[in-house]
């Protein structure tokens, strides 16, 4: 057995594990969203399939799997097929650089294995941003290839919105990059160790609280969620860019949207909220002398942070009405962009005056 094949096997196993966790999270999210929305609106949410409706995602998945796959007349069949794949692959591929747990390394079969991150590349966050932009192509092409007015309008809106808010996401995290001095998410997370006052939201000399707010708002806009769900505005555009999609192709768009939510939550947790670091120095299990199990606590903290962020998505959806289109653009370019730029200036000055030790 050559070293290459061992590396390949380990990488594939890691990818399978991460994909499994992400798909499971997406399943949980589809149920959790309906439940949380229901509870916030004095309803019950799904209650029929299984006890308290907990098997609803499986029923939904089966339904979508067995549904007829309709290609509308006059649609560009190649693009119509390509679009859901183009939307889903970038959403999934970003998880390759997210550190889910502490960066232990161990030797197995003669190669070094990092169990909690698939690939620690030194341009991690740039890689995520690049693929998030490609995801917009899936939406635009899906809208265009459907040969439907509503789909096209949804796709156009999505293009404008994603370009506007992609910029703010990129600028919001520049402050963190200045403080951390690295683009690798593993290094950024490690730099935030030692208690919540070291997290970049709160960390001196330049707390990134404004950048965090900008990031949260832009992330909601980038994933086309309420209150920025103009590309799929039900009351105006039927379902926006996926009006004409059905069956598994619709499921691909759906999974892409939820995987994007999970991705931006993971990035927010890793960049601003300390990633897998606990909000106190070290880990409780580590203090008790169980250092070999400390990774479980770290992963639990990462999960808690990511899910808290996802809960914020549901909470916003239950609370806010949709923005008007001009309000969306005005907010993105005239409010978010100056705040992000100002944050970069302030952070740069602070980082220059108080250089890292």
């Amino acid at each position: 057995m050559t070293e290459l094949s061992v590396r390949l096997a380990i990488s594939l196993a890691q990818i399978a594990a991460v994909m499994g966790v992400v798909m499971l999270t997406v399943m949980i999210l589809t149920l959790a969203e309906r439940k949380v929305l229901g509870w916030m609106q004095d309803r019950m949410g799904p209650m029929e399939v299984g006890p308290y409706g907990i098997l609803q995602p499986i029923a939904d998945g089966l339904k979508l799997f067995f549904k007829e796959d309709i290609v509308p007349a006059g649609a560009n069949k190649f693009m119509f097929t390509l679009a859901p794949i183009l939307a889903m692959v970038p959403a999934m591929i970003g998880f390759a650089v997210i550190p889910f747990g502490p960066s232990h390394k161990f030797e197995a079969f003669g190669v070094t294995v990092e169990p909690f991150v698939i690939s620690d590349i030194n341009i991690g966050i740039l890689y995520i941003l690049a693929f998030a932009s490609i995801g917009a192509y899936g939406i635009i092409l899906g809208g265009w290839a459907s040969n439907s007015k509503y789909s096209l309008l949804g796709g156009l809106r999505s293009a404008a919105q994603v370009i506007s808010y992609e910029l703010n996401v990129g600028l919001a995290i520049v402050g963190v990059l200045i403080l951390a001095g690295s683009l690798s998410l593993v290094k950024i997370t490690e730099a935030q160790a030692g208690g919540f006052w070291h997290w970049y939201v709160f960390a001196l000399p330049a707390p990134q609280i404004f950048a965090f707010v900008v990031y949260v708002i832009s992330a909601v806009a980038e994933t086309n969620r309420v209150p920025f769900d103009l590309p799929e505005a039900e009351s105006e555009l039927v379902a926006g860019f996926f009006t004409e999609y059905s069956g598994m192709r619709f499921a691909f768009f759906f999974i892409a949207e939820y995987a994007n939510m999970v991705l931006v939550s993971c990035v927010a947790a890793a960049m601003f909220l300390g990633g897998w670091n606990a909000p106190y120095p070290g880990t409780l299990l580590g203090h008790l002398g169980l250092d070999q199990f400390a990774w479980a606590e770290n992963i639990a903290w990462f999960t808690v942070k990511a899910y808290a962020f996802l809960f914020l998505f549901f909470w916003l959806r239950a609370t806010l009405p949709r923005l008007r289109y001009d309000q969306l653009m005005k907010f993105g370019w005239k409010v978010m962009l100056p705040i992000a730029l100002g944050n970069i200036v302030v952070t740069s000055i602070a980082a220059y005056l108080f250089p890292r030790g």
């Binding site: 019950m44 909470w315 806010l320």
Partner: protein, 180 residues
């Protein structure tokens, strides 16, 4: 100062936070108003206007006298009555055939109000979804069956309720007397 307050409220998203507090309070004090419909049902009010039915007296005879007043009162022409004499009793009539096209009924209850002998009743039934809408074209037997299952307690015949009630009823002598 006022302007500063307003500006400060804007930058901390004060209105949005108030809204989020409201939704969160509903989540924490979770009291759903939903009823799981097929499993649990609402208690209907007594005057609920559900499916129409024809009624009987307690001796099993039909109340309907075939007067056509319900047909005249119906605003959407649901009811069709074909009236006939009771054989051997020239002064008494009954409805030989009685049809209701429930696809058109708007459940206003005017036929029930129009009926002089209270032969029509509105039941509490509302689950009448069918696959074939011909099934909603009901004949007299079906309407009587609905009445039988929805009104188990029946009235006595008019002339037996009180002696004076049937004073003007010319057909009284033909009816066999029943005690109680």
């Amino acid at each position: 100062m006022e302007r500063f307050k307003a500006w400060f409220k804007t930058i901390i998203f004060y209105e949005i936070l108030v809204g989020m507090k409201a939704t969160m309070s509903h989540l924490l004090r979770y009291k759903p108003i939903t009823l799981q419909y097929p499993h649990e049902k609402r208690a209907l009010p007594d005057n609920y206007r559900g499916m129409l039915a024809l009624l009987r007296y307690d001796d099993g005879t039909e109340k309907c006298v075939g007067c056509d007043l319900c047909e005249a009162a119906c605003p959407s022409r649901v009811i069709r009555v074909i009236s006939a004499e009771i054989p051997g009793e020239p002064t008494k009539r009954y409805s030989k055939e009685y049809y209701m096209d429930m696809t058109r009924c708007l459940f206003c209850g005017m036929c029930v109000e129009a009926c002089p002998v209270d032969a029509l009743g509105m039941t509490q039934e509302f689950e009448w979804a069918v696959y074939d809408k011909r099934q909603l074209h009901l004949n007299k037997q079906q309407l009587l069956a609905i009445g039988d299952r929805s009104f188990p307690v029946r009235e006595k015949r008019l002339e037996l309720q009180h002696p004076n009630t049937a004073f003007f009823n010319v057909s009284f002598r033909h009816v066999p007397q029943k005690l109680n």
